[in-house]
């Protein structure tokens, strides 16, 4: 257990340093001299050189990268090119918090719908209900958020006038409901499919037959023997499934007017504000790596076979 956990713990920083190098080098292939960008168009060469010296742009690439990582660990991601004199973290921090909250509620929606549906469908394998539900959920999964977002606003906010929309006032307010459903519902299909497959695996096990044979009640077998074991393998994909989450939430933030990272990130692309983009991508990678690590360790705690095998 200790060996497995410590190996995973040691590997994650290495992974992040290499991933960071990849991201950092992408950030520096961009054309244009950062110093000139910051100094403005009519700056004299001397001022540009001063900025360049201050930013350490004359140093070798790896030295720059090492310094960047060392500063990043202290929460310093450099200075924005576009908003002069403003710290990247100062710009990004509050918005990132909103985006994370949004993704978190959406994830709860995804799991709360996907897992029970997958279980439900597996228990009805062979009847018309299983394929019908799978197809319905696939139809919802395939529906682009460009449609669901305005459609839900139209129906629930304008026609029925049930829920207020636009803006953000924390993940527990009613404003979070529609965006969370917009992002979370499509993803439910993915978890439904995993949960269905994993439940079917468990259904074929002998201990399930034994439990039934002992005369245990259906509810008890379902809950204790089937659902609990079927949930185990799901834990491993919890981490990885976060990778795709940002794509949907960027669009949804724009359409619902949520003050997340979306607008800042797009601005950064068009205004060539590379420090913002590099920091955002690096932070995203960090979160994903930590999520994967937590999922791996959780799984090895729950299922001893994993850590014994390696």
């Amino acid at each position: 257990m200790l060996i497995y956990t410590s190996r995973r713990l040691l590997w994650t920083p290495v992974l992040l340093i290499v991933a960071g190098l990849f991201i950092f080098s992408l950030g520096s292939v961009a054309p244009g001299d950062p110093a000139e960008l910051m100094a403005g168009q009519r700056a004299d060469p001397e001022a540009v050189e001063r900025i360049r010296e201050r930013l350490g742009l004359n140093d070798p690439f790896l030295v720059q990268y090492t310094r960047y990582i060392a500063n990043a660990l202290k929460g310093d991601f450099g200075e924005s090119y576009r908003y002069r004199g403003r710290d990247v973290w100062e710009l990004l921090g509050p918005k990132l918090r909103v985006s994370l909250e949004l993704n978190l509620v959406s994830y709860v929606v995804t799991l709360a719908i996907g897992l029970p549906l997958g279980f439900w469908a597996a228990m009805r394998q062979g009847t018309w209900k299983d394929p019908t539900m799978t197809t319905i959920m696939l139809l919802i999964y395939a529906l682009p958020v460009f449609f669901t977002a305005p459609f839900l606003i139209l129906v629930f906010a304008l026609w029925l006038d049930w829920i207020p929309v636009s803006g953000w006032s924390g993940m527990f307010s009613t404003r979070a409901i529609l965006p969370a459903i917009t992002i979370g519902l499509p993803g439910a299909f993915v978890f439904m499919r995993y949960m269905r497959a994993s439940t079917l695996d468990v259904l074929g096990q002998e201990y399930v037959r034994t439990a039934h044979g002992k005369g245990m009640g259906h509810m008890t077998v379902n809950r204790r023997h089937i659902a609990r074991n079927a949930l185990l393998p799901i834990i491993t994909i919890l981490g990885f499934s976060l990778a795709g989450l940002f794509g949907g939430s960027l669009i949804v933030e724009l359409i619902y007017g949520i003050p997340g990272v979306s607008r800042l990130a797009l601005e950064a692309v068009f205004q060539r504000d590379y420090p913002v983009l590099t920091a955002l991508t690096l932070l995203g990678a960090g979160m994903l790596a930590v999520a994967n690590l937590v999922a791996d360790i959780m799984y090895s705690v729950i299922d001893p076979r994993i850590r014994l095998r390696s």
């Binding site: 520096s28 940002f246 359409i255």
Partner: protein, 334 residues
């Protein structure tokens, strides 16, 4: 009498022969199984229609995709403009058809290079050779997989695109080749590069697993002991066995890359106007804000729904097809 009898016998023999020859080839079997499934057959038909429309866009489109008609803006569908016109009086049907073509070009480029070429080559190499090759490819994949998909697309669009564009201008200036920029080649290369890391690793891991499973099979051992070289073993003995999971993964990948292109173009970092793309169309009519999107959905739903329905059908059908192929080609997976 005699002649008639012998010809009948010949006919029986030949019919028996054809029946014996028929014990389904691999693809015929898959095709027959596929046709038995109603939903999958439906998906194949829809995809055929969409892809035919896209590939023959120059013939199918009723108007020029960039031709504006300011006398007829935001018109409802009629006999001249089958899906109506947009804010600038451009024909929506023609733009959708050209948009499909854009999506097709991009998905085919990406899937061919990433899943099929890189995934296959690296997966077989890692699974068969093991050792350092295996470790390096798997670790590289892990590094790429830890970067959130869309953030990678954003950063590549921001930093690599200007470089490639510069290169495009350089080619136009220094060689007789012209029209590099206006052909949209830059967009395809940038998006292709951005989606590359997302799509090669999945396919590679799949093929590596499959290769690992059969590399020590008795027939592969036998071939090796007879002195067959590694390239021949890989191509003759390993490749046919890893091709089926690849087909399934390509089918799922087509939908995913199509959606990626639409999202990137929606944000304005994918395919650039005037080249039409479904994502650009959606971005135009919604102006990337909620109020405009709701307003369009209310007053001119056809402007928003035309590109969206196409995207929806593409993703849905590729997934249905992928599922069906998975059932048919990998009975062991069930």
């Amino acid at each position: 009498m005699n002649r008639a009898g012998s010809s009948e016998a010949a006919r029986t023999v030949s019919s028996v022969l054809t029946e014996m020859e028929a014990p389904d080839s691999f693809f015929r079997h898959a095709w027959n199984e596929l046709r038995k499934r109603k939903l999958a057959s439906f998906a194949v038909c829809v995809l055929l229609v969409l892809y035919t429309l896209g590939i023959f866009a120059p013939l199918v489109a009723t108007h020029d995709y960039s031709e504006t008609n300011l006398a007829k803006t935001e018109a409802a569908p009629d006999s001249e403009n089958w899906l109506g016109t947009d804010r600038l009086g451009r024909d929506i049907f023609s733009r959708v058809v050209w948009g499909i073509q854009t999506t097709i070009i991009l998905t085919v480029i990406t899937i061919l290079t990433a899943s099929v070429f890189l995934g296959l080559a690296l997966g077989m190499a890692a699974g068969y050779l093991r050792g350092a090759v295996d470790i390096i490819t798997m670790r590289t994949g892990e590094v790429v997989a830890v970067v959130p998909d869309f953030l990678l697309v954003l950063i590549i669009a921001a930093t690599v695109r200007p470089r490639i564009k510069e290169f495009g201008y350089w080619i136009e200036d220094n060689t007789p080749i012209s029209g590099v920029i206006s052909s949209g080649a830059v967009d395809y290369i940038v998006l292709g590069l951005a989606f590359l890391p997302l799509s090669w690793f999945g396919a590679m891991r799949l093929i590596r697993g499959q290769t690992l499973a059969i590399r020590d099979a008795p027939y592969v051992d036998a071939a090796r002991s007879m002195g067959v070289g590694t390239p021949t073993i890989l191509i003759r003995h390993i490749l046919p066995n890893v091709i089926t999971p690849l087909i399934v993964s390509v089918s799922f990948g087509m939908g995913a890359v199509a959606l990626g292109e639409v999202i990137a173009s929606f944000f304005g970092i994918g395919v650039q106007p005037p080249r039409p793309s479904l994502g650009v169309m959606i971005g135009d009519v919604t102006a990337r804000t909620g109020s405009a999107a709701v307003e369009t959905l209310r007053s001119h739903p056809e402007q928003l729904l035309s590109p969206i329905v196409v995207v929806w059908l593409m993703i849905f059908c590729w997934n249905i097809l992928g599922d069906a192929l998975n059932d048919i080609l990998n009975p062991r997976a069930r």
